[in-house]
Each structure stands twice: as C-alpha cells, then as structure tokens.
Symmetry: C2
Subunit: 203 residues, 2 copies
DNA sequence: CAAATTTACTGAACACTGTTCATTTTTAAA
DNA sequence: TTTAAAAATGAACAGTGTTCAGTAAATTTG
C-alpha cells in the first residue's frame, strides 16, 4: 500500500513548492509586499489551496525561518571538527559572515526581520538557534580556559564578537553601505573581519 | 497680511500632527501594520485629508526618517566640542549607542527598515547621514594622525567600530537578545561597549 | 453685509490584501 | 461502476492604499 506514502510525498512536495516560491518572492520584494495571491499565482494554484498546507501567511514565514536555521547550522557544522578552540572560533566567525553574504535573504529572515512574534512557538527554530549560540559560547569559553584572552568574561567576549559580525552582515544586507562603492564592500567587510580577529588577540 | 502666515503655520501644524500620530503608531505596530485609515482615525480626520499633506504613505515614512536623522545629529552634536580625538571618538560611540537604546523606533527607521528605495531623493536625509558619517571618519582619522592606533587604515577602523555599534543596537532593537534575561541586556551592551573600546586601544 | 471665489475636507469608489467556506473536481476504495 | 474521501477552487468578507467628484468652510471681493 504505497499510495499513502506517495500521497505523503506529494503533500511534502507541495509544501516545498509553496516554500520555494515564497522564499523567492520574499527575497525580491520583502515579506509584507508579497501576497498569498502572488505565491498562488507563482505556483499556478488558487490562493485557497495554500491554506490547505499552511494555516496562514506567518506559518509560511516560520517554515522558511526554520529552513534557514537548519541551513545555517549545516553551513557552520564543519567548524565543530576543529580541535584548537581559537582556530575554531575564527573559522566560526568566518563562516557566520560568509553565510550572511551568501544568503542575505535567509540571514535577514533569521536576524533582522521582525517576526510575527505571536507564535514564539516556533520552538524547533528557536532550539536550533540556541544550539548554535551555545556552541559559539562554548568555543569562546574554551578559548578563555586555554588563556587565549587576558579577559575571562566569556559572556561579554562572545556577545562583542557577535555584535561585530552581525553589524557587518546586517549593514550589508539592509544596504547601509551605500557610501562605499559597491565593488569595495565585500573587501571592506573582509578587512574588518581580519581586524576584529587581530583585536580579539589582544583581548 | 498675516493670514497667509497663519495658514502656513496651520498647514505645518497639520503635517506635524500627522507625523506624530504616524510615529506613535509605527513604533507600536510597525510601518506595514499601520494603515492610513489608522492614522486618520488617530487625528480624527478622514483618510483622504492625509493625502492633502503627504502624497502617499512612504512620504510620511521619509518625513519621519528625516526627523530621526535630525534628532540623531542633535544627539551627537555636543561631541564636536571635545578637543581630544580619542575622547571624542569614545563619546561619539557612547552617544550613538545611547541614541539607539533611547529611540529604538527612530534607529530602526534610519538603519534597519528597508526603505521604499524608489525615492532615494530623500536627499536631505541622506546628506544629514553622510555629514554625521564624515564627522565620525574624520575623528578616526584624527586618532590615526595622532598615533592613537598602530594601524593606519582609517577606513577599516571606522567601519569596524561602526559594525560593532550597529550590531549592538540592532540586535537589541530587533529583539535578538532573547537568550539573555531582559534586565541583563542593557548591562551586557554596556560591558561590550567598554570591551570594544579597550580592544580599540590596542589597535 | 452678501455674493463670489478660493481653500479645506470628505464619502464613495477601485483594485488590492489575508482568510474562510460551501461547492465542485479529482482520486481512491468498494 | 458506484461510493466515499481528498484536493482544489470561486466567491465572499472585511480590511488595505489611493483617487476624485462633490460638499462645507473660510477668505476675498463688490
């Protein structure tokens, strides 16, 4: 009786179809500027059909946010294999920024877009983000333990580095670097990342 | 013939009335969640009346953005009086962050909200922002000139410090600090600011 | 002061939005 | 082939930004 399995596959396929169409439209026009009718038109279904797979527009948003969180985790995963905590920290930062520049739409979804807060029950996504954050904190802690910093305030160190990385990416993502010529922006971000690493060495 | 003057005053008063109502609503509910009808209701006028003073919703947004830029300039203005460039730089940063925490809605308007890009003709606002940014850059340059840093890469230094400050404020403004207990957030930001200053001293 | 003119304002409409639901079409089971 | 279940939809509701013909108020003119 493989029919139910095929149905299940088709249902999942439809959910993915909706999600990918939504992601493309959200990226191009922003969450609010995209209507359910737009998404429906893109996948050549009636608007009402979408409500058979997602109970409302914000649920589509949350599904995308979860996918983004999973993709980000996968992007950062290889870092865990690095033994030396300092190298692990540097590579974590590099990959964090890299993820932001490669997937600005997903980064935006995760760290900038004002989420329809009502459903903080996006718990799976939240758990994913917390796990990543914990891994980051533990790496900083390992650096502290092994005397890579003079300071022992793990929390503040971790937060400070995160602030810089997030500022770096989000100024780019939300186009607040217009005072720099376009071809220079990535280069400047690169240099700034190197600089904060150098600064952190004397921390 | 003071009548035209009084009319002018009344017109300006009406514009301010609309702006302040809009700002309050935008702050509470966000730009997209606020309708022209909401604003009209708040000031007890018909929706159509608003279009006599602002040609569309985005023009209200831009007017607010300009006011925010002017307020931010005023908030940073006292810094210019500080002679010593390093002290000036530190105080600039402190006040920048302070502005963000005191006026998260305005900060959001200036540095996070995806502006309806069509009117980059918000030139007065852009000019204001650029002037502030230039002042910041020049302060960093003055520090470089007086050998406050080992590095001489003024542009990267300025950008790096800006990244941290912006990250600091925007993580707070867009509520990405939920992993820290609420009463700790401001304190952590304070500590992080001190830390980046310390780091900059060894730059 | 009354009439004419300019200014300020509004109600109704248009095309759009998210969402619901009765109805129809398609698919699977008997 | 009929019957039951699943999937898809058209039409509707209350909301949106925006426009415009028309009304009400204020000012200028005779």
């Amino acid at each position: 009786m493989g029919i139910t399995q095929r149905k299940e596959r088709e249902k999942e396929g439809m959910r993915q179809l909706i999600l990918q169409a939504a992601l493309g439209l959200f990226r191009d026009r922003g969450y609010d500027a995209v209507s359910i009718r737009n998404i429906a038109e893109a996948i050549e279904y009636s608007p009402a059909t979408i409500y058979l797979y997602y109970k409302d527009k914000s649920e589509i948003f949350f599904a995308l946010q979860y996918e983004a969180a999973a993709l980000k985790r996968d992007h950062l995963l290889p870092v865990a294999a690095i033994e030396n905590p300092w190298e692990r920290l540097v590579e974590f930062g590099r990959r964090y920024v890299d993820f932001g520049f490669k997937h600005p739409d997903l980064y935006d979804l995760l760290f900038i877009t004002r989420a329809p807060m009502e459903y903080v029950e996006n718990q799976e996504c939240w758990a994913l983000g917390m796990a990543t954050h914990s891994f980051f904190s533990e790496t900083v802690q390992a650096c502290v333990d092994q005397r890579y910093f003079k300071s022992t305030d793990t929390e503040t160190i971790a937060y400070t580095l995160w602030c810089h990385a997030h500022g770096l990416v989000s100024l780019f993502v939300r186009e607040r670097m217009r005072m720099y010529p376009e071809e220079k922006r990535q280069d400047l971000a690169q240099k700034s990342f190197s600089m904060i690493i150098k600064m952190a060495e004397h921390l």
